[in-house]
Symmetry: D3
Subunit: 253 residues, 6 copies
């Protein structure tokens, strides 16, 4: 495990569309990790091709939440320079073994060699393969009930470098309906955190509310994703409009 | 079923590449529904991210014919704001049940929560889930012989809100070779239309010729797709060139 | 003057890069006017071509702060569907007369006919010309000392529909150095506001601070631009990170 | 003058946004010349960089109607591979001399050397300069009253290879209000055509109506622009919708 | 088999990102075939939509190495105008039969009809289907140990028009670790070449080193891919910098 | 003058289109300065908006050769984060004074304040203005005969931080026809270099040939631009194709 993954409490920001300025603003605001939500956002390949090396050149880490649990989605993120992939909707230990294998080269897994950015636009050798396999990270997302049930075995896999929790989908799939960050939700999250800590592997949590953040801090989450690009924008824009409305109200309009 | 799906005879236009002006021209020409052919066209995510809300802000409905029968393709269209998805190459009732499930949240299906446009860039609750499930529509495409055979059972599925017929592929797969809009083709279409009407669910038809359009009108197709973006352009450009050639011919050139 | 320009106290938001989601978030946050800073931002034509009609289809007004005081920059914004243009670095009444002329058709000015979006992709007639000339608005920016000096004459021009104040550049050019929103700055703004009100034409102000906003409200600014896209994002991201840091501090980290 | 410019009656199509398929459809419909309306359309540089060589590789000619009468706009179109530039709003013979000079290298004019596509990505020699100057063409647009007045002198300039008439703006600026293709409009066009023919230089006309087209044919216009991209689309889409409406009406809806 | 596939020793270039100028430079440098590495590169659909017809209009052949062994990836490449598809990670003869079927229409395979570029934006008939099936080519990639084992049966499939060898992944999966173009690697390549030649079907090889190129020439490879876009750039840029450094060294810096 | 401008003999690379990988390859090849040819290349604003901060985050310097000698072109490059602007076709000392003024804030010049990237997305103060004025650099291009004549006075201007020589255009405009890097060309370059050295200001030269490079090294050019993106690609692609052809020839083809 490298320096970065040993740390706890890193501040993450969740991006849904590419924007160089948003990355710069996030750096100014103190974030050190950027999560790109390729699954639900609008990141095309041409954008990822500059966004990934840009985030890294800024000295931040980038976790790509890939389109889905498929070889191609995982491979492209690593080819273009992601530090880590988070893989949505991993369904079981067997599924995790298969799809996390796409993040590691043979014999550990079944990743395909690209010959571009990550090998400095040159060929490769066995030392490079070893370095890639240990230097990039694969985080299955735990957001399905069946993956929740298999958590210990999933964490025991060699190709699994930690877990990324998806609270909203987990609530829907653990029969609690829409996510409320309620007591049962937090119990589930704590259970997963404990499993990751017991396995000595990092865990990552999107945590918008104080309750979620406290839990994440307490249980040493590796990255705590504090807000989303659009959520922060909504907060900022709403605040400015409300302040102006207040001034207008005082002026008797 | 909402107001829109209860109507019959809506005019649809089939787009193959993104263009704000094409949407505006279509609105001026009287269309009320836009079909985006993501399967065979060239729509990247950045384009869908403005095109979908633009079509809706213009007061038109947008049906996304997604890349294929996969969770990710279906999810992205609904996340970005589609009114409906049309899913190509659904092969059977079992296949329909699985893939249409990706268009509905648990417990009805297995859609994943995005947290962006469709939930107003905020969180969600159970009422919102119910509203999404009923307010967006899932149309399996009937263009494989095996789906044709299962039509009644497909229409009986809760996650199926209607059907979208693919006449060209259906002809190839029902052993009639290239589609000619011939008698057997129309018989197949009528059979599917009757099944949809019997099930009380809307059906949609690309119908370029008068014969196809008459059938669609007669059997109350919900949306009749009257032309394609490129086909209309070819008609318009050919007409203008032919008119000029006629004038040149008259002038004795 | 149309309904919109008669209103005062509209909430404006300042955009520096195109983003459909940012427009939607702004609408949710209560803004009714969007200013696109083409001068200093990164808006290419392909983006403006969907962004302008999208903002209007959402029911908001769009003011394009064009690249510079040139025919082409002004023309493109109006061709693509802007409600108004704000023209940077207008230097004098003579300059204003020339460049605001590019926003109006002959005989009033020298705008060129495009034949696209704003004439419904068809030809035009004299009634349409009259409607365009009155329905779209031209705002010279007052941010140069020489324009400040000519303010009454500039406001008297037929082609001038109001003014857009540029406080930062005005401070630099009125020998006060970097803008501080200090007393002299506010005096300048008040002077321009009074001139506009006396001329019966709207005035527009970017007003980030309470002092600027109070002045704008008091003197009936037509649009009060309450914040910038990146500024709101910085506020939102900084707030979320600070809140998390506080929780981490409390936890004894 | 090369083979292409000696021909008369070529069919031109007017594009307002980049689209590879539109070029292909135009080729199928029989057009041999494409006019890109950079002045009023939405063509960014990245798009021009593939669109220009694509049109030429298809065996068609491409005339770029540049952003305005400026060195940079003219230069970019020629650098990226245009066969010809049409320059809007040339105001007089002196203006024509200056701006058409930007389309020719010294000593004939003042074009700047790029070192890219048009010199095969290599250096250059005097023979190449001569070939570029004669092989690419510069067409001032005649759409201002003052240019109309100077037409013979403009046509006499060495750097002027022909003229491109702008009927809509010409009508507005010759005090006839909005363009109607009326008798006076046609008289103006005929006058310019006669001048070009007398000078032995090609002339080009956007000619949507039969009357305009007859005049263009009769007076040997080099390129007759028969329709616009959006106009053809509107014709095609309107026709398809009207045909369907007719069928719906017959069915008693 | 058409003229093109009967030739041997064609020069191929491997592209990883879209660039019109790179295609032009490759044509000037003598290449006649372009391979687009969609699997590991950054080609979005909007780019493929102009790049594919551009390469063909330049008189070159284009092989699209698609994203993966899926219907959608194969279909899009053929819809947009590829001469051939190379399909990564085909695992066995059964897998080859399934996925190569997506490159051929029924009854030969299961390709879906698009109605765009390749059918001249019109409908289709049985002759067109036959022409598409024989005129476009499907090359499974041989880069997995299990496909290597099935090579004769794969080459015997009707839907397989030849093979594309992937030496780097093959080395990793045939237990030799990172690819070195060593003796065992060349033995594997020769084995596959012999199998293709025995089957009378073309084979294609990325061959950067003299040893690989000699083998490819000797065994009549159809296309020999001589270099990659980024590799050539690295060679060119490194050479220029080294030459300058030499001059600086001589000057005693 | 900052550390960077005091150095001599930096290796520059000339880019004509945006590409993150090209920047990375250039860094690997040892370049420390990137010149973006906005004047003749194809850089849209959206691309510049990520490319400029990316080059800087990689630890390289970026000089933007702007579209032309206009306020807007200069301003945008500095707003988006350029270290320096090179301004084409400066014609005289008076012209230099005017246009280089757009690169410096009042009272030194007339640059406009943007409020984005370069002020960390916040407001500004007088110290920031001073730092911007000294920290960014303005290089008029010397490529017109009249600027050549005024060289000493141009170099004496406060707003001029050095010069960027344009040998091709200079040859055309100093009546030597196409540039050959001949003796008279080198004499002109040496003359300008001596003037810059005498003024104690850096000078920059595109220098493809050994003769040009020797002169640049000898006279302490600040940046020596050793090659162009497309030129390097042509060298690399041609070399690879020639090597393969040689092997084919040896094999008796």
């Amino acid at each position: 495990m490298n320096r970065h993954t040993q740390e706890a409490g890193l501040h993450g920001v969740w991006l849904s569309e590419p924007s160089a300025s948003t990355v710069e603003v996030a750096a100014l605001a103190g974030y050190d990790t950027v999560v790109l939500d390729v699954e639900h956002g609008s990141f095309d390949l041409a954008a990822l091709n500059w966004l990934l090396p840009f985030i890294r050149a800024k000295g931040m880490e980038v976790i790509v939440k890939v389109l889905g649990p498929q070889r191609e989605a995982i491979q492209q993120a690593l080819d273009l320079g992601a530090n880590a992939v988070a893989i949505p909707h991993v369904e079981s230990v067997a599924h995790a073994e298969q799809v996390c294998g796409y993040a590691k080269f043979p014999p550990l897994g079944d990743r395909s060699f690209a010959g571009g950015r990550v090998s400095d636009y040159r060929g490769f050798d066995d030392a490079w393969v070893a370095e890639q396999d240990s230097g990039t990270r694969c985080y299955p997302m735990i957001e399905d009930a069946s993956a929740f049930a298999d958590i210990e075995q999933i964490l025991a896999l060699d190709s699994v470098d930690g877990i990324f929790i998806g609270p909203s989908d987990l609530s829907l799939r653990r029969d609690r309906g829409a996510y409320t960050a309620g007591e049962d939700d937090l119990t589930d999250i704590a259970y997963l955190a404990d499993a990751a800590n017991a396995a000595g592997k990092p865990w990552i949590l999107p945590a918008w509310s104080p309750a979620e953040q406290k839990l994440a801090v307490e249980k040493n989450a590796h990255v705590i994703i504090a807000t989303m690009q659009y959520g922060a924008l909504l907060t900022g824009l709403s605040g400015a409009s409300a302040a102006l409305r207040e001034i207008q109200a005082q002026a008797g309009e």
